[in-house]
């Protein structure tokens, strides 16, 4: 009997501690609401330490990049800047966390291109409208990877294979930039293919090398070591100009082979800081300035070059997130991969 009581007490303790956790969370949320309408915050910005929220675990590509930016932000803003990882639900949990914080620029979301698939894949109801994109400065460009002994020797061969209609393509996951690239190319060249997912672009490349798929699409940054060691070859990048990989050579752009693809280039996974929508404009401007400075720094340029990450120049980042969200979510919905109509979260079909 005594044992039973202590077991009951233990279970009770568990529930109490979890309930407390929940209560705290709500408490936090309510205080954040009250702080939201402090417009004057712009002058005193930054007001105390800043957190950069990363939606993926430590050590991944997104995390590494955020950690490269962190010291530069810290120096430029003159306050402590910390990177905090909140992995889960393809980074949707991180978006939700930032959306619950005050719109005062003290919490920065390290946004990725996944933002554009949420409206149809349904991990969260948040869209680009809930954030103000500070910048989109870096991209892992999509590239077409084959094994060195593959019969596919140029991008033209890939096009003919797609047109024949029985190509198998390895990508990381459904709705990722690599899957999108495949769908874009298919729609332009009127091809068909079977998509097989391998969790990461580099795993997909490994599957190509084993001959499980005809070719794979991934970020150049994910396969740079395979290219340099000579284990894999890249036939084209989804861009308007070629991309030079150190110790490997220049990968030609898809537009060299199929001109019509120009409208869709560059395509790949992108990164850039964002803040909650409604953050005062001066704060966003300040952050934009700091971010651009960080991108121009020698450390960051070296990091990008070594990692085969492309620096891109987007004039209006907020407009960019709007456009790519509309195009991408509707494309996925139309081909039957999407889980809900983007209209459900207010994303209009692009004209």
């Amino acid at each position: 009997m005594k044992k039973f009581i202590s077991l009951l007490l233990f279970i009770l303790l568990v529930f109490v501690s979890v309930a407390c956790g929940g209560a705290n969370e709500e408490g936090e949320a309510s205080t954040s609401d009250s702080g939201e309408n402090s417009e004057n915050a712009a002058e005193g910005y930054p007001d105390g330490p800043i957190e950069i929220i990363v939606g993926f675990g430590e050590g991944g590509g997104t995390d590494t990049m955020a950690r490269m930016l962190q010291p530069i932000f810290q120096e430029e803003l003159g306050v402590n800047v910390a990177v905090r990882n909140m992995p889960g639900a393809s980074s949707a949990l991180a978006l939700e966390h930032v959306a619950e914080q005050p719109a005062d620029g003290q919490t920065i979301l390290f946004q990725t291109d996944l933002l554009r698939v949420f409206p149809t894949m349904g991990m969260t109801d948040l869209t680009y409208k809930d954030f103000e994109q500070v910048g989109v400065g870096t991209m892992g460009i999509a590239n077409f990877v084959v094994s060195p002994d593959s019969e596919l020797e140029t991008f033209d061969d890939i096009v003919s294979l797609l047109q024949e209609g029985d190509a198998t393509i390895g990508v990381a996951g459904v709705g990722d930039p690599w899957h999108l690239t495949a769908e874009i190319v298919n729609s332009v060249v009127e091809g068909e293919s079977e998509i097989i997912t391998y969790e990461s672009g580099s795993n997909a490349a490994m599957a190509t090398l084993r001959g499980e798929v005809d070719f794979s699409i991934s970020g150049v940054n994910e396969v740079v070591d395979l290219l340099q060691s000579g284990e894999a070859e890249s036939l084209a990048v989804m861009d308007k100009e070629g991309f030079e990989v150190p110790d490997y050579g220049t990968i030609p752009p898809v537009t060299d082979f199929v001109e019509e693809l120009e409208a869709y280039a560059p395509e790949g996974t992108w990164w850039g800081p964002a803040v909650k929508a409604g953050t005062p404009e001066p704060i966003v401007e300040k952050l934009r300035e700091v971010y651009n400075k960080a991108l121009q720094s020698e450390e960051f340029k070296k990091f990008a070059e070594e990692g085969a990450i492309v620096m891109i120049d987007v004039d209006d980042p907020q407009e960019y997130t709007k456009e790519t969200t509309e195009i991408t979510s509707w494309l996925l919905w139309d081909i039957g991969t999407g889980k809900r109509s983007p209209e459900e979260v207010g994303i209009q079909r692009p004209e």
């Binding site: 979890v18 050590g59 909140m86 894949m121 996951g173 990461s200 580099s202 795993n203 084993r210 060691s229």
Partner: protein
């Protein structure tokens, strides 16, 4: 073969004061955790991982491996002096270790266990150094078919071996498989059994499940039967004379190979390695009768093999991304946390990792030898710590550790839930490791099966036409046939007829 200077560089970088300190901390923590009955190496490592946050990966891996080596050895203390194995891997050690202690040879048994654990680790580390690159070569040919077979084999064999009853083991394994389906399916992007809970979209947090099953379960279990602190005589380790070490060298060598081999089979761990080695040593020995009555050879066989199992289990974990047992499953989780993706590509992105792991193993083993021989009395005192103190500390560490991984309160709930599930499982005699392997390998099996079907146009044929896949399939069938009493009896009858009754 990477540049020799690169290899030396990696050795060099481990010889800094800071790094050596990590070795010391890891090894001592491991020995302490291993010594305390109820605290397992699996639990120690899963708690440790969340604290390696912010370290660079080499430091984190050092700490983890040092703890693994120390913990596996640490289990021998309680086995010898109290007849309670500190960890499941030391169960076979108790058979002869405890009788030796009763005869007043406890110090010697401890000394032998220490030296043999060291030798086992080092010999198996050399095997690891040779085998890992070979397996990487082979694994380049592993397709979805082979990965499916391996994962399937792992789940089946763990259900088969780690729990006394095959049915209960399979039940736990199937439960793990069912839990593995929770979360977003990466092939279609559909959400399965998430019930709209965003925190479940990636499935259950592995670390939360492990800490729950191996930490919280243990705490509940101990609460149910809080015993007064154990008493044991304080005996110093005797450094075994060279003559004895030399005498045991052939047996030690054999046990190392057995340990490393068993360790490399997915689904079985150090506990099985030590039993297999013990059994083999007994059957080969000229003095079978004295086994179980204090024959040092029993201690040698068991302690060498359970430590030799460590490098062995790292081979499939690092090269194929397939964890052999629950400890390596946790370690794999830790590697992922630090951005290292175990599998064939690991050696492409980190060409020196095999050498680094080798050095870490050898240095950890050396540390363990030194501390094991010098500070035995300290480690023995740990056995006398009141359990209530130890348990309180562990609950706190468990909660912090679970939360720290994803910064998610939800995971704490998962941890406690699995703690309770684990407790009831234990009440019904179901072992936890098959559940854990079902959870990890289940996802691997399912996704690779579906990929295999997709890339072969929904044909089953490649499973039997691909040579490696066929080989694994035959292996699975054989293992299961030999479980059946009928088949066993048939073979026994056949042997009797052929060789007479001997």
């Amino acid at each position: 073969m990477p540049d020799i200077t690169l290899i030396l560089d990696s050795l060099w970088s481990m010889l800094t004061i800071k790094h050596l300190l990590l070795f010391v901390i890891g090894t001592i923590a491991g020995i302490l955790i291993g010594s305390l009955p109820g605290l397992t190496t699996t639990m120690g490592i899963s708690l440790l991982i969340s604290f390696t946050w912010g370290m660079d990966w080499l430091e984190a891996v050092t700490l983890i491996i040092a703890l693994h080596v120390g913990g596996t050895y640490g289990g021998s203390t309680a086995a010898i002096f109290l007849n309670i194995p500190g960890t499941p891997a030391a169960a076979a050690t108790a058979l002869d270790g405890y009788p030796m202690a009763q005869k007043g040879e406890g110090g010697l048994a401890r000394g032998i266990a220490t030296v043999q654990s060291f030798l086992g680790t080092v010999i198996a580390a050399v095997i690891f150094l040779v085998a890992a690159p070979l397996l990487v070569e082979l694994s380049m040919n592993f397709g979805s078919w082979e990965y499916f077979m391996l994962a399937f084999f792992g789940i089946l064999i763990s259900a088969n071996i780690t729990s006394g009853s095959l049915i209960k083991g399979l039940m736990a394994g199937v439960l793990g498989l069912m839990l593995a389906t929770v979360g977003m399916d990466s092939i279609t992007g559909n959400q399965r059994f998430t019930f709209g809970e965003a925190s479940l979209m990636d499935g259950f947090s592995l670390i939360a499940v492990l800490i729950g099953l191996f930490g919280i379960t243990e705490i509940i279990h101990s609460l149910m039967e809080l015993k007064p602190p154990l008493k044991s005589k304080n005996v110093k380790s005797t450094i075994p004379p060279w003559r004895l070490v030399k005498k045991f060298l052939p047996l030690g060598g054999r046990s190392s190979v057995v340990g490393a081999f068993v360790g490399s089979v997915p689904g079985v761990g150090a506990d099985v390695a030590s039993w297999v080695s013990y059994d083999w040593a007994r059957r080969k020995s000229k003095d079978k009768e004295s086994f179980g009555k204090g024959n040092p050879e029993g201690v040698v066989a068991s302690e060498t093999a359970n430590n030799a199992c460590i490098p062995g289990s790292y081979v499939p974990m690092l090269t194929l991304g397939i964890p052999g047992d629950s400890v390596t499953a946790v370690i794999m989780g830790g590697l992922l946390l630090h951005g290292l993706q175990p599998g064939p590509k690991l050696t492409v992105s980190n060409p020196t990792i095999v050498y680094e792991v080798f050095f870490i193993l050898v240095i950890s083993a050396a540390m363990m030898l030194i501390f094991g021989l010098l500070f035995t009395s300290v480690f023995q005192k740990v056995l006398l710590l009141p359990k209530s103190t130890v348990l309180t500390v562990i609950v706190v560490i468990s909660i912090i550790g679970t939360f720290a991984v994803n910064n998610r309160p939800f995971d704490i709930l998962v941890m406690f839930a699995f703690g309770i599930i684990g407790y009831f499982m234990r009440m019904f005699g179901m072992a936890a490791p098959p559940l854990v392997l079902g959870l990890i390998l289940g996802l691997m099996a399912e996704q690779n099966f579906r990929r295999a079907m997709l890339s072969a146009d929904y044909s089953f044929l490649p499973f039997v036409t691909r040579p490696l896949s066929l080989l694994l399939l035959i292996l699975i069938v054989l293992v299961f046939l030999f479980q059946s009493e009928k088949v066993k009896n048939w073979f026994a009858a056949k042997r009797k007829r052929l060789f007479g009754n001997s």
